[in-house]
Symmetry: C2
Subunit: 326 residues, 2 copies
């Protein structure tokens, strides 16, 4: 499956979804674009393209392709498509792994993140952005139980797979997020799926809300969903799960979830969704890594941990059993 | 030079440069991050990684590489590395052209743009971001002489190479910019050059300020600079141009510059810089496209225009004459 190179027919990108927003009634501003340039009057009133998302893709040269459908990789909250690229420690990550395994791959930057761009607030986006601190990332992503600035504390879990000396490098990947953009983000993902699928979705964390919802709407276009510690679920008491019956679902869980009350809370609605999927005769497989003897994987880091290839191989083998890669 | 595929040994990315910023004294907020997740108290006080930039790269498999140094492609203002990717009309652009021509390619998202991410303002970035309206882009980038919202006017230059029906699609690529970030942006580019060069720089528009300054500091690391309508110059009265003597410079100018007073103004300091480079015995070649019989290319769009391959080939031929590609 490895090999020293891949044949590529096209690397490219596109923006999908979005709309035109028009601003009026805002004051002009006099701005110096460089310290030495004259003042320019800037008028913010006018038209903007907003709420689009960005998709980057790598299409394999035919002899290198072994999967019937491309992967659509959807990142988590406060992050962008960079999640799947080179690891903070410089090692090769899931982008190259799945390309070498023969999948065409699409990588999303969800609306508001990374190359998707973002729009003025509060005029277009209706709330303020949220920036993730290092403390929140360290503790929420289960690198370790405690992080403090002053006095400095970086307690890591013993045996963790994430290279903690690369934590600051990882934090450079973080992007701001809004919590009021779920509807247009889902709309942009729907536009993406209509444009590029049928496909297999690999989704991480907060991206799962969009993945499960888009699958409910276009069940014929989604051939499987691999949830890498998904953190947003469908609520079977509120929405009809029936369309998902035909879509094989995989859930991959890292270490230290049971020991972390907030993660038990996050996981609970996913567990409920899994039981409904099983009850309706659908596929909902779970890889609980510590129960499989694979220890030390944290929430965000399965694709960045030392053993990222091991986890990717488990996923690829699961796809292979379902005929989704040769 | 064409061919139906390329051999790729690695697609990857890295963040370079930046620093840790610490915020204190800000109020906390209670936030629900996904519809099914519990309310979380968010404390914005703490540590952040800021001012880094993003570099994406494609390294060719050895038999496909024909250039001794990689290209470093630096985008212009209000844009990101997407500039070089698939065109708004869906056609292949300079990323694929130069890969097929045998260059390894690095694509920057400058600090504050795209996947480089951005930081809170006014606490870390000291000013507000600026968003470019469609009117400004249409007129400044010389798609046409006039754009208005109400009543709607989209006057395009006759014979223009940019597909005007894809203008809205192009505008989805735009990202906000700050006017107070030049120093850390240059610092991040310096970190990039130290990490990945020797290299050849291909730079567009506002990126040129950083390209010429970084070359002045590391002249042994920059083997040539291709300025695609550069809009920021070194001022020979204020800085020493001597280090640039050993670096061949190419300047590519599109159509309708002479007819546009603002562009004559923007070009003037570049012309001065060119004359100093020539006077000191350096190389400063100019491709004035309309004077070469190539009409209709606008400022931003040489890599997005219908004839983008034609312009890329001129540049590649110039690099070939200088021994920078076989």
């Amino acid at each position: 499956m490895a090999g020293d190179h891949i044949g590529v027919s096209e690397i490219g990108s596109m923006h999908v979804g979005g709309r035109t927003a028009t601003l009026t009634g805002l004051p002009t501003k006099d701005i110096k674009f460089t310290p030495t340039s004259p003042v320019t009057r800037v008028d913010p009133n006018g038209e903007y393209e907003v709420e689009q998302m960005y998709l980057q893709y790598v299409k394999l040269y035919e002899p290198f392709r072994r999967a019937p459908y491309p992967l659509l990789m959807m990142h988590g909250g406060g992050l962008a498509g960079v999640t799947w690229e080179t690891k903070p420690d410089g090692g090769s990550s899931w982008q190259m792994f799945f390309l070498k395994a023969g999948h065409d791959v699409y990588f999303a930057d969800a609306m508001e993140r990374g190359r998707a761009s973002w729009a003025r607030y509060p005029e277009i986006f209706t709330s303020e952005p949220i920036f993730r601190t290092k403390k929140e990332a360290w503790e929420l992503f289960r690198i370790g139980p405690k992080y403090d600035v002053s006095p400095p504390v970086r307690d890591a879990y013993p045996g963790g797979q994430f290279p903690v000396d690369k934590f600051d490098q990882f934090m450079k990947q973080g992007v701001p997020r809004w919590v009021t953009n779920d509807a247009p983000t889902l709309a942009a993902y729907e536009a993406a799926v209509q444009k590029i699928c049928p496909c297999v979705i690999v989704v991480h964390s907060q991206g799962s809300t969009f993945a499960y919802n888009v699958a409910r709407k276009f069940p014929d276009k989604i051939k499987a969903i691999v949830g890498v510690e998904p953190s947003g679920a469908l609520d079977p008491d509120k929405v009809d799960m029936a369309p998902l019956k035909v879509i094989p679902l995989l859930f991959v869980w890292g270490d230290k979830i049971r020991e972390t009350p907030r993660w038990v809370q996050i996981q609970a609605p996913l567990k409920k969704m899994i039981s409904v999927q099983l009850k309706q005769g659908g596929v909902a497989d779970e890889f609980d890594l510590p129960q499989m003897g694979i220890n030390g994987n944290s929430h965000m880091m399965m694709m960045m941990d030392r053993n990222s290839d091991q986890i990717a191989k488990l996923i690829n083998d699961w796809l292979q059993k379902r005929g989704l890669v040769k």
